[in-house]
């Protein structure tokens, strides 16, 4: 029982981190048909800048704010310089964002050196709570809470605000939204920035969780995020939360019972979804 609960908490924490990465990816795709292969780069940049700022300032709050700021700046740069010139051309988009991912990853090595960096957990989040005979590691609970806060904030913004309305309408039918006189490219830019900030936040949160950060982590987590996006359905925000939890849980359980097969199980999940419901679990249209 105790083991199960620990595995569940573990899986939820990983799932939430992947969700922060996948949510931006899925919204960007749903709105503009842009699949951003550089998204994992924002994640890695968030992680590195958070670790660096934390070691400089000693304040975890500053580190997280700094990581988000990095994500926003990278998002603006990417949207303006990399993606704007190739709107509408899918093949070029895929190729160019992958190239940018490569540059981002290598640039980390230029700025912070090629070796991995150790990340410390802030003091107030180290240790664990004991409830009866169940041990809850504080930092994992913290990740889950933060991700849930982000999820509900974005969900409220999507459901209650005007811009959220435009985003939801844009995901459904962007030509119609444009025909109503709304400049969807501006909305898209906004969504892109929010997405990259979320990815950077995810990176900042993962650093103390995994203990080390390295430049290639962006690509590793991006692959998990792609699996999540496929399972949840491209463009579905709630779908990506559900799928991320599924992937996180299956990953943590497999890592405990059959460690060698944890990636294979996620791939198998994705293959099953692709065969029986290629549009994803949470998308009703084909």
């Amino acid at each position: 029982m105790e083991l199960m609960l620990n595995l569940i908490i573990n899986g939820l924490a990983t799932g939430m981190l992947v969700f922060l990465l996948a949510a931006g990816l899925t919204l960007i795709f749903g709105l503009m048909d842009v699949l951003n292969f550089a998204h994992g780069g924002f994640f890695a940049w968030g992680a590195f800048s958070a670790v660096w700022l934390y070691s400089l300032s000693g304040s975890f709050f500053v580190a997280i704010i700094g990581a988000i700021a990095t994500g926003i700046m990278l998002g603006i740069f990417t949207e303006k310089i990399i993606i704007k010139p190739v709107y509408g051309n899918h093949i070029q988009q895929i190729l160019i964002t992958l190239g940018f991912m490569l540059v981002l990853t290598e640039f980390i090595k230029v700025v912070w050196g090629p070796n991995q960096m150790a990340a410390k957990t802030p003091e107030f989040l180290t240790g664990s709570w004991e409830l009866g005979n169940v041990i809850l590691i504080k930092y994992r609970v913290f990740i889950i809470i933060i991700a849930l806060i982000v999820y509900s904030m974005v969900q409220i913004a999507l459901k209650k605000t005007k811009i959220g309305l435009i985003v939801r309408a844009g995901v459904m039918d962007k030509e119609m939204v444009q025909a109503l006189g709304i400049n969807i490219k501006k909305v898209f830019m906004f969504v892109f920035i929010v997405g990259s900030a979320m990815a950077a936040l995810g990176g900042a949160l993962i650093a103390p969780y995994s203990g080390v950060v390295y430049a290639e982590m962006g690509m590793e987590y991006a692959i998990l995020a792609f699996i999540v996006v496929v399972i949840g359905g491209m463009g579905s925000f709630s779908g990506s939360l559900f799928a991320a939890i599924l992937v996180g849980l299956s990953g943590s359980f497999m890592a405990y019972f059959i460690p060698d097969l944890s990636l294979a199980v996620n791939m198998l999940l994705m293959a099953i979804v692709l065969i029986f419901r290629p549009q994803g679990l949470f998308i009703s249209r084909g």
Partner: protein, 333 residues
């Protein structure tokens, strides 16, 4: 135009013959090894071009076929006697495996939008990479393993000639393939998928065949690569291998088989040269950044690559000439 094609065909054969003479007149081991690498990567890049340039589908996991070839050859030659027969057998086994893998992956994802194929091939390639790290009894994990190769291949110049001849044969075979009716259907799919579909072609069927052919060719390149190093480790499955093929194809010219060959030559030379520079200037240790930036600029401003741009420029010149002649005739008449 046909005559022009004939002339360039002949000049290519002359270049190939010149390359064939090199090992007999020029005794430099490192140059021979570099050229052999170029031929092997040219085969790999040509196979990638069948997907990207002719069918218009982006794969980010092409390294997996390369790796399958490399590992099959490595494992069979290590376990069995290193004879020529086993080497050829390993190539055949590798091709069979990659045909099966590319069929399964293609069947699952090629009916969806192009994004899915790019994403899923990336995921599948990482699955293969993880498998090669974890299945230690077969692959010795991350460290890789060395193996002996058939005696005929130990001589560098023989191996050089074999790679060169295979490259030339594959170039003409793939060219024949792209000019066949099937190749025209692939180009039609690249240009306008809906129209090809509404003309009655089974698009999925053709896409899968293209991915199988590309996979099998890449697998052959992988086998040769492993044999040239006499060593194989997990790096053959990494993203970098796919990126090499991508760079060579894009810089050389997509949709022209000659482009990837030229691209392979350029990238491998630059590789060699920049790693030499890195010993003196530490900045060049991160040479991938330069490649990445060149690649982004190429995709943005130079999407046809070297060969494609030259062809476009030639065609434009011809058009201008034709217009001029017409104009002059008009004035005279």
């Amino acid at each position: 135009m046909k005559r022009l094609g004939c002339i360039s065909q002949i000049s290519l054969i002359i270049i190939a013959v010149c390359l064939m003479v090199i090992p007999f007149v020029y005794e430099s081991r490192s140059t021979l090894i570099l050229l052999t690498q170029i031929f092997i990567f040219a085969i790999f890049a040509m196979s990638y071009d069948i997907l990207l340039g002719y069918t218009g589908i982006v794969s980010f996991g092409h390294a997996m076929f390369f790796g399958i070839g490399a590992y099959t050859t490595g494992i069979l030659l290590q376990r069995q006697e290193p004879t020529m027969g086993i080497f050829i057998l390993s190539i055949i086994v590798g091709i069979i495996i990659s045909v099966i893998v590319s069929y399964i992956v293609g069947l699952m994802t090629l009916r969806l939008k192009s994004h899915f194929y790019a994403m899923l091939t990336l995921a599948f390639a990482s699955l293969f990479q993880v498998a090669s790290e974890k299945w230690r009894s077969l692959t010795s994990g991350n460290d890789g393993f060395t193996f002996r190769i058939p005696e005929i291949l130990i001589d560098r110049s023989t191996f050089y000639l074999i790679c060169l001849i295979l490259m030339v044969i594959l170039y003409f075979m793939l060219q024949r393939f792209t000019q066949s009716p099937m190749g025209s259907v692939l180009i039609a799919i690249r240009e306008n998928e809906q129209r090809a579909e509404s003309l009655g072609y089974k698009v999925l069927h053709y896409k899968i065949i293209a991915s199988i052919i590309a996979g099998a060719t890449a697998c052959l390149a992988g086998s040769l690569y492993a044999a040239s190093l006499r060593f194989v480790n997990t790096s053959v499955f990494t993203m970098d291998t796919t990126l090499d093929a991508l760079l060579m194809t894009i810089i050389g010219g997509v949709g022209t088989l000659l482009g990837p060959v030229i691209g392979a030559g350029l990238i491998e030379f630059a590789h060699h040269w920049l790693s030499g520079l890195a010993e003196k200037y530490p900045l060049f240790e991160r040479w991938i950044i330069f490649f990445g930036i060149i690649y982004i600029l190429a995709v943005m401003f130079f999407p046809k690559g070297i060969v494609g741009s030259i062809q476009g420029w030639k065609a434009g010149k011809k058009l201008k000439k034709a217009v001029k002649v017409k104009h002059e005739k008009k004035i005279a008449g």
